[in-house]
Subunit: 191 residues, 2 copies
């Protein structure tokens, strides 16, 4: 059974385990095994915080190595862009040569979100590029996040699947995740 690593910031949600189980059930319904980060093997016992962090890192990396593919939840997290842990995992999996699909439960552009984050209006530098309140250039390619993220998925053939979730449901809505699973199914059946 093909296995899919389920990357995403829902591991920080109060319903993290239930969300993982729901994703895994959707995987199973299509004949896939979902590997959820919180199911990684952590050594028993009370580890001091830095060692626990390293154990979780190793468990996640182990699950990614084990997985055939990755589906990443790239929904913005604590800022205008995707969760850093998830972005790391997308890069790592691509470096390993794995196929990665991604979804984002918002449909606006990165520029739109930086505009909100910036509070004061964005400005323009002498070359006409949008700049934020710190004078730093803001990417304006019409993409939903940093070009390394969205570019990598475009390069892989399946751009980030965007879905405007209801307010408050950005981390829990599984519509776009289910869409990704269908794409995986189509991919694997055509190979």
């Amino acid at each position: 059974m093909p296995s899919i690593y389920l990357a995403g910031p829902e591991v920080f949600h109060p319903e993290a385990m239930a969300l993982g189980r729901a994703k895994q059930a959707l995987c199973r319904a299509l004949g896939f095994e979902g590997l959820y980060p919180l199911d990684g093997e952590i050594p028993a016992g009370d580890l001091p915080p830095p060692e626990l962090a390293l154990a979780i890192y190793r468990a996640n990396v182990g699950l990614i190595r084990q997985a055939d593919l990755v589906i990443a939840n790239l929904t913005p997290f604590r800022g205008p862009g995707a969760d850093a842990g998830t972005v790391f995992e997308v890069g790592f999996a691509l470096g390993l040569g794995k196929r990665v699909l991604g979804y984002r439960n918002v449909a606006d552009s990165y520029l739109d979100r930086v505009r909100t984050w910036n509070i004061v209006p964005l400005t323009r530098d002498s070359a006409g590029h949008a700049t934020d309140r710190d004078g730093l250039m803001v990417e304006d390619f019409g993409l939903g996040d940093n070009l390394m993220i969205d570019g990598s998925l475009i390069e892989g053939g399946i751009p980030v699947i965007e879905h405007a979730a209801e307010p408050g449901a950005a981390l829990t809505d599984l519509t776009a995740f289910a869409h990704c699973l269908k794409r995986v199914q189509a991919l694997l059946s055509s190979e």
Copy 2:
């Protein structure tokens, strides 16, 4: 000459080219070639924005594949954590089996920065974990960023090198970068 990919959000700084040249000069002084993202080969002509983004993605990925090592500027960018493009590149390089060093021009913890970002005080869930204003758990391992980032560098043997830069100099201070170069030099001379 060993080559080092120079990952970091200074590409968005108004002095991006000068910062790249300064990093490259520090590399050369120790016998390394610095590969700066803005030096990637982009096809000539006016590309539409999404195609330009993809061309930059490809150029950066090409430079990372070409590099022997990566030094990543993990200084927080538009939020409590590191720049997404840089984080992607760290993961990608590690997936390729490259050695990655990182630095951060702040010395506080991720939890400290989320506390500032959160505006209102953090709360605790029933298990005692810190939670942000959206009810999402905040990592509290005493690390400077998401555990996938800091864990990966601990695992590699050289934890993120932190340096508290002066206010306003977080993206331009090269003290910690120079420190990383010394570590690279020591590494390569011991191999």
